[in-house]
C-alpha cells in the first residue's frame, strides 16, 4: 500500500499521521550534465519518511537510488523540487548551513571508508566536532557502541587489522554515535557474510526503534528485506512502489478474512495491498453516496461506518470490513450511502487497480462474480 509517497504536490514536512518527518521530498527531479548533454535521472519523486523506521530503497542498477540518497544526505545540490531534511528546506540553506546539516546525518558507505591511520575508537570519535565535554561524551558513547557491536576487544585496532565485517560494524558505530535523526546507508551489507549482514542490519533496526532515527538503506541485498519497515522501489529514476510492510501484512490479513478475497494467494493479496492508499475520515463524513458512479473500493482499518439504503440504515461496518466493490463490478452506480460513525481510517483501492487485479487474476474475478451472482 502507498504510504507517504504519492503524486500529490502538497506534501507537508509532517507525515499523514501528524508526526514529524525527517525527510520530505516532493516533485524531485535531478539532471546530470548540462546543455545538450543534460540528462534527467530522477523524475518527479515524492517521499515522506517517518522517524523510527528502517526504509529499504531497492531497484535495478542505474535506477537513481544512490543519486536520491546523496540528495537526502545534502551531498548533491538540489536542482528541482522540494526537499526538507530534518525540518530544514534544503533549497534555502547556504553552503555552510548545508555542511552543518550533514553533521546531523549518519552516513554508512559500502566500502566502510574508515580512516586508515586511526583505530576503531578514533574513527568513531572523528564524528564529534564539539568541545572537550562533547568529545568525552562521544568517546564514552563510542566505546559503548563498539562494545554493543561486539568490538570491545578491537577498540584500538586499525582498519587494516580488522575483518570486513568488523570494519563495517565500526562504520556503523561511526554513523550512529552522534544519535543522528537520519541515517543513510549505501549498500552497507554488500560485502558482508550472512552473519555480519544480519548484525549490521539488526543494529540499524534496533537503533531506529530505540532513538526514533529514520534509517534509509539503499541495497540490492535481499537478505535484509525481512528487517525493513518499508520498501521503496525505484525504476528508471522514479519511485514505482512504496510499501510499508507491517501495514501491507495487516491489509493482507484483513483481505484474507473477507470472503471475496479468501481464496487469493499471497502474491495476489500483496499486489492489491501495495496499491491501496490510506484515507482518514471524520465522524459524519459521507464516504459514498447512493446513485453516484463508483470509483473506489474501501477497506476499513479503524472506525465504523453506517450503511444506508434508500435512507434506511441497514448495517454498521467496522474494522476489517469493506464496501464499494459492487459498483466497480456491476452497473457502476453506488447501491448505498456510507457515512462515518466516528473518526477512522480506510484503505482505498482505485477502480483502475481494482479492475486490473480482477483482470489479471481469473480466479479472483470468478470468485467475485459468483459471489454477486449468488446475492
Amino acid at each position: 500500500m502507498k504510504s507517504g509517497a504519492s503524486g500529490s504536490a502538497e506534501q507537508l514536512p509532517i507525515s499523514q499521521n501528524g508526526s514529524y518527518s525527517p525527510v520530505v521530498l516532493n516533485g524531485l527531479n535531478y539532471y546530470f550534465g548540462s546543455g545538450e548533454f543534460r540528462t534527467q535521472v530522477l523524475f518527479n519523486n515524492c517521499l515522506n519518511i517517518e522517524p523510527g523506521k528502517l526504509v529499504v530503497m531497492t531497484g535495478p542498477s542505474g535506477s537513481g537510488k544512490t543519486t536520491l540518497l546523496t540528495l537526502l544526505g545534502a551531498i548533491r545540490t538540489l536542482q528541482e523540487g522540494e526537499l526538507q531534511i530534518l525540518g530544514r528546506d534544503v533549497s534555502t540553506l547556504s553552503e555552510g548551513e548545508i555542511i552543518d546539516l550533514r553533521r546531523e546525518i549518519g552516513f554508512i558507505f559500502q566500502m566502510h571508508n574508515l580512516f586508515s591511520s586511526l583505530s576503531a575508537l578514533e574513527n568513531v570519535q572523528m564524528t564529534c566536532q564539539g568541545d572537550a565535554a562533547e568529545m568525552e561524551q562521544n568517546r564514552s558513547d563510542g566505546i559503548a557502541l563498539l562494545k554493543r557491536l561486539g568490538l570491545e576487544k578491537r577498540l584500538n585496532y586499525r582498519p587494516s587489522e580488522l575483518s570486513g565485517g568488523q570494519r563495517q560494524r565500526v562504520a556503523v558505530a561511526r554513523a550512529l554515535v552522534g544519535r543522528p535523526k537520519l541515517i543513510l546507508a549505501d549498500e552497507p551489507t554488500a560485502a558482508l557474510d550472512k552473519v555480519s549482514c544480519l548484525e549490521v542490519i539488526n543494529m540499524l533496526k534496533e537503533w531506529a526503534n530505540e532513538y526514533g532515527s529514520a534509517v534509509v538503506v539503499v541495497t540490492h541485498d535481499n537478505r535484509i528485506l525481512d528487517s525493513a519497515d518499508r520498501i521503496v522501489k525505484m525504476v528508471d529514476g522514479a519511485i514505482v512502489s512504496d510499501v510499508v510492510l507491517q501495514e501491507a501484512i495487516q491489509i493482507c490479513e484483513f483481505l484474507r478474512k473477507l470472503s471475496i478475497f479468501s481464496n487469493l494467494n499471497n502474491s495476489e493479496l500483496s499486489l492489491i495491498s501495495e496499491k491501496m492508499k490510506k484515507r482518514p475520515f471524520v465522524e459524519g463524513e459521507v464516504l459514498l453516496q447512493q446513485g453516484d458512479v463508483g470509483e473506489e473500493f474501501f477497506l476499513i482499518r479503524d472506525g465504523e461506518v453506517d450503511v444506508f439504503v434508500d435512507s434506511s440504515k441497514t448495517e454498521i461496518l467496522s474494522t476489517g470490513q469493506c464496501f464499494g466493490e459492487r459498483a466497480l463490478l456491476g452497473d457502476g452506480k453506488r447501491a448505498a450511502t456510507i457515512i462515518a460513525r466516528k473518526n477512522g481510517l480506510a484503505y482505498v483501492l482505485s477502480k483502475e487497480w481494482f479492475l486490473h487485479a480482477v483482470s489479471t487474476s481469473p480466479n479472483f474475478e470468478m470468485q467475485i462474480k459468483n459471489l454477486y451472482f449468488n446475492k
Binding site: 546539516l101 558507505f109 571508508n113 591511520s117 578514533e122 564524528t127 566536532q129 549505501d186
Partner: protein
Amino acid sequence: MLQRSFFLAYRQLTQRVSKLVAAILGVGVSIILMFMQTGFENALYDSALNVPEALNADIIISAKDFSTLSYVPPWFSRDLVKESSGIDGVESALPFYAFNLQIKNSLMTTAKPIWLYGLPLSGVTLNNPDVIRQMDVIAYPNSVLLDQASRKDFSPIVQDVLTNGRSEVVIPVAGQGVQNTLSVRGLFTLGPTFSVDASLITSDVNFSQITSQPLDRVSFGLVRISPGYNVAEIKNKLQELLGSRAKVYSKSDFILSERLYYQKHTPIGYIFRIGLIVGIVVGIVFILQALHGIISDNMTEYAVLRAMGYQQSFFWMLIGNIAAGFVILAYIPSLIITIFLYRIAAESTQLPINLKLHDAILILMLVVGMGAVSAAVSIRKLRKANPVELFS
C-alpha cells in the same frame, strides 16, 4: 577542532614512514642549502668587518674617494688627521695604514695575498689584546705580527713562531728576486677575509719601509672623542672642517657602509641571496610534492570528512598542520647537520661561519612560510575530495 586536525594530521603524516622520511630528506636538503647560503653570506660580511670592528675609534676619516676596504684604500694627507685633533671634543686622532701585499716563505710554493696594517706606536688604534700587548715587538725594524687565524697555507709560519718565537717571510717582486724579508715575531687573532688569506701588523715606520710609501699618506684617521661628547655632533663638525677633502664616518656607519658594499655593489651578496631563494623554491617543491602525496593517499578520507560536515576551515587546519609537521620534522635534523657542516667549513676556510640565533630563527620562519605557501597551494587539490564519489 584544532586539536582534532592536529591529531589527524599527525596520524596521516606518520602513517607511511618511508614516504615521510623521503619527504623530510628532500625538505631537509633545502633547509641545509638555505643555512649554508646564509652562513657563507654572513661569513663574507663578518670576515670583511673584522678590521673595521676592531678599529679603536668613534669616528673614522677616509680619503674622499674611499668606497671599501676590499681594495687598498686611497691615501690622504696626514695633515687632515692632525687638523682633526684640534676640534673641541676630540680626544685623539691617529693615522692608520693599510696595504695589500703578497708574501711567501720557504715552505710555501706560491706567494699569497695578505693585508699589511701599519699602526702608530703612540696610541692604541686596534682593539686587539694580542696586538696591544706586542706593540713593542713591532717597533723593531722589519718586525711584524701574523694573524694566527690565517688560512692553512700560513700554518707552518704560525707553527714556526709558536715553536721558535719567530719566522721569516719574504715579499717577492717579479723579476727582481727577493726584495724584502720580514721577521714574524708574534701572533694575534683576527681572521682572513674571503679574498685575502692572512694579515700582518707592524709599526707605521716599518709599514712605510715595507711599502715604500711616505708616512704622511695615511689610509684612515681614527678619532676618539672625549667622554661626554656626542659622536654625531663631532662627526658633523669634522665633516664641516674637512669639507670635500675627506669623508667622515661614525664607526657604525663605516661598518654599515662596508656591509652594504658587499650586499649592494658586489655580485657576491646577490649570488648568496639567489642561493637562498633556490633553497626556498626547492623546499617548497619538496613540501608540495609530499603534501600532494599525502592528500592523494587520503583523498577518500577527506571526502568522508566533507560528508560528515567538516567545514573548509578544518581542512585548512589539517593541511596546515601536516605542512607544519613536515617543516618541523625536517628543520630539527637539518639544524643539527648544519652545525656540523658549519664547523667543517669554518675549520677549512678559517672564516667565521657560525650559527647565529637570529639566522636560525629567520630560517625557521622562512621554512614555516614555505610550509604555509605549500599548504595554500595544496588545499586546492582537496577540492577533488567529493563525497558523492563515496557512494557506489
